[in-house]
């Protein structure tokens, strides 16, 4: 007998070989998702975007954030960030058309993110106010390593793509074929492995800056 059969038989024996009613199992699973408000934290009152920014910049997430009115303002925002942190005027762009098509005048840009890049600029598909998370789906415009290699990560997200709870993101993608990777990124890379004290920049970015843009997403 294969290990597969051995295990499945042992599981069935452990469950008294009862008949599985797939429809009943599904109903029970759905029932466990009812009344979500009772089992998740509350969001602060007010606009979603404010809750998101409050969360991103809270000590728990410890990232920085700013708002721009139009996607064309992104290069200037990046420039200000580089100046503020005394970084060289050179950035690696996530290979997304929307970023490539902007006017990066005065900044040296590269079309992909390499192992030794200092600053990476990317675009997240969604933001989650509950946790201050940014959501990325791997695809030809979104390589996964671009989110992890740079020391400074600047991420743009559209205001209209901010959802309230983790569950709301799940509801948006329900029924879709999942990508190879979904990354939920919440703040910079950190570790508490030495004596429990938090240090940022463990393997991934040490700094995360979130830029929220007002216009509608071109997804």
């Amino acid at each position: 007998m294969s290990a597969r059969e051995t295990i499945l038989n042992a599981v069935r024996a452990g469950l008294d070989n009862r008949k599985v009613d797939a429809e009943a199992v599904r109903r029970e699973a759905d029932a466990l998702l009812q009344d979500l408000d009772a089992v998740r934290p509350e969001l602060p009152a007010g606009a979603l975007v404010d809750a998101f920014i409050a969360r991103v910049t809270s000590p728990k997430v410890a990232a920085t954030a700013e708002r721009i009115k139009d996607v064309n303002e992104l290069p200037a925002a990046v420039r200000r960030y580089l100046d503020l942190h005394k970084l060289p005027p050179s950035v690696a762009l996530q290979p997304a058309a929307v970023l490539k098509n902007l006017s990066w005048h005065g900044l040296e840009t590269r079309g992909e993110v390499a192992a030794d890049d200092i600053v990476g600029v990317g675009i997240a598909r969604w933001g989650i106010a509950e946790t201050g998370s940014l959501v990325f789906h791997s695809n030809p415009e979104t390589p996964i390593l671009a989110n992890f290699l740079p020391l400074y990560h600047i991420v743009m997200v559209h205001e209209s793509a901010i959802v309230a709870f983790l569950d709301d993101y799940a509801a948006v993608v329900v029924g879709q074929r999942p990508p190879r990777n979904v990354n939920l990124i919440t703040g910079a890379s950190g570790t508490t492995d030495i004596e429990g004290s938090l240090v940022l920049g463990a393997h991934g970015p040490a700094h995360l800056h979130v830029v929220i843009v007002k216009d509608t997403p071109e997804l």
Binding site: T6, L8, S138, A171, V173, R180
Partner: protein, 470 residues
């Protein structure tokens, strides 16, 4: 495991006598306890969430065959290859042979307790494959040549001073400054090119998502993504109890897991891995393997009590709050999993005979059950092992003899009163200033602390006296 050949008591004595270890344990578990407490005040829905989480896990366990098949079907459809392993050895062999098929010289690993449970680090070393641990704590464990001592902070037994020494000896460009920041930067430099040049990556899974076939990892360092993206092959090993019906259910569990583990609301990185890279993707593995491991779990399923342990989501809260763990650290427990949850699980994996001391190393204060995010009745399960150990005759003769005398005396009130009256007199002879500092037969106690001298008369004697006066 060399440690296991020394008795539990001898290991405990040694740990208790190690002041550096005590310092290291206190620093990490103390922080974890404080941060969790703060997180709880900010999440008043915790009790309701915990009840929901318990029900989700119970629902999955009650329909485990259904969810295993659903997961397998969806994983295969996403392009993954699914393997099944009944035992730890089978699981390790599958992983090693996948590495050999891939001609792997260098393998990067994301911390996974299941990987430890099935002896994967050892199996890879035996096969002559270079194994690079990428989690900072596992990197420290690898450099120290020992074993994880905590399921969330595997190198918790090391102080910063020890870590500094290890990094200076092993790293190509070690830190100059004696700060934890500089040490972390040193590890970052050391591991960066290894991430990118590995042939195979191996990770565990915090959740298996039945309705998509995806696996989920949570980390704070970002090492899971840096590990599992560049190599050509990604192998996941996961216990069959890790299933959840959907990503929505995973999110409910995630809220409980992270708060209980570290006091954060969510880890910095929560990543779902579904199949190999897709057409047009710029990075990601070409092959994605998932090894589903039983290793005793179906045995637990058949046991009405131990079945509850299948809810465990490996957060580590029980050990952070355990008065015994906080004195001893994790290595003393001898198994893969330490603390209360380890004392329940190790007898399942290693047999009760070699691990019967573990369920005894518990004060039954109930703290572990109180903080468990899926309400596992850990003290009850530990008591169950104690019962079984007694029934199976595994308790030492001296203990059985002593207890049978106690049973006899306790069920004969006159004899019992006579005994206590004599004991009171004798103990008071040895007491100075209300404390017994040493006395024949009390050595095991008085070696570490004084014994309070008993009152002049027993409660029963005083009660009788007052009744007579009426």
């Amino acid at each position: 495991m060399q440690e296991a050949t020394v008795s539990f008591k001898a290991r405990a004595e040694r740990a208790l006598a190690d002041p550096t270890l005590k310092l290291a344990i206190d620093r990490t578990t103390g922080t974890a306890e404080r941060k969790r407490a703060v997180a709880m005040t900010q999440f008043p829905q915790f009790e309701a969430a915990r009840e929901r989480g318990k029900r989700i896990k119970d629902h999955v366990i009650a329909n485990l065959d259904h969810y295993l098949l659903e997961f397998e079907r969806n994983a295969i459809e996403s392009g993954a290859k699914v393997h099944w392993a009944s035992t730890a050895e089978e699981a390790s062999q599958i992983v090693v042979s996948l590495c050999k098929q891939a001609n792997a010289k260098r393998v990067t690993r994301v911390k996974s307790m299941l990987g430890e449970e099935i002896g994967l680090p050892h199996a890879l070393d035996e096969a002559g494959i270079e194994r690079v641990e990428t989690d900072l704590a596992e990197h420290i464990v690898q450099l120290g040549g020992d074993r994880p001592s905590h399921i969330v902070w595997p190198s918790m037994h090391r102080t910063r001073e020890q870590v500094s020494d290890m990094f200076k000896r092993a790293h190509r460009v070690p830190h100059q400054e004696e700060t934890i920041e500089a040490m972390v930067a040193s590890a970052r430099r050391e591991l960066r090119d290894k991430f990118l040049s590995a042939d195979v990556s191996i990770s565990g899974a915090n959740f298996l998502i039945a309705n998509t076939g995806a696996t989920c990892t949570v980390t704070n360092e970002g090492n899971a993504e840096l590990t599992t993206t560049p190599p050509r092959v990604h192998i996941v090993t996961a216990g069959i109890e890790k299933l959840v019906p959907s990503i929505e259910h995973a999110f409910l569990m995630l809220r409980l897991l992270v708060r209980s583990a570290t006091g954060a609301d969510v880890t910095q990185y929560t990543t779902f891995h579904c199949g190999p890279k897709q057409p047009g993707d710029r990075d990601g593995p070409e092959e994605f393997h998932i090894v589903l491991v039983d290793n005793g779990r179906t045995r637990m399923l058949r046991d009405a009590a131990l079945k509850e342990m299948l809810r465990c989501i490996r957060c580590g809260a029980c050990m952070n709050h355990c008065v015994v763990f906080r004195q001893l650290g994790g290595h003393v427990y001898g198994g893969t999993y330490p603390g209360p949850m380890g004392a329940v699980l190790t007898p399942v994996f290693d047999g009760l005979e070699s691990s019967r001391d573990l369920p005894h190393a518990c004060t039954m204060n109930g703290k572990c059950q109180e903080v468990c995010p899926v309400a596992i009745p850990l003290p009850t399960l530990l008591r169950g092992w104690r019962d079984r150990s007694w029934r199976e005759g595994l308790e030492p003769t001296a203990a059985r003899f002593g207890l049978s005398i106690h049973t006899f005396v306790a069920s004969h009130p006159r004899l019992y009163r006579l005994g206590t009256a004599i004991a009171i007199k004798v103990m008071r002879l040895f007491s100075r200033g209300g404390l017994v500092r040493g006395m024949p037969g009390l050595g095991a106690w008085t070696k570490h602390r004084d014994f309070p001298a008993p009152a002049r008369r027993s409660f029963m004697a005083m009660y009788k006296n007052s009744e007579n006066k009426r």
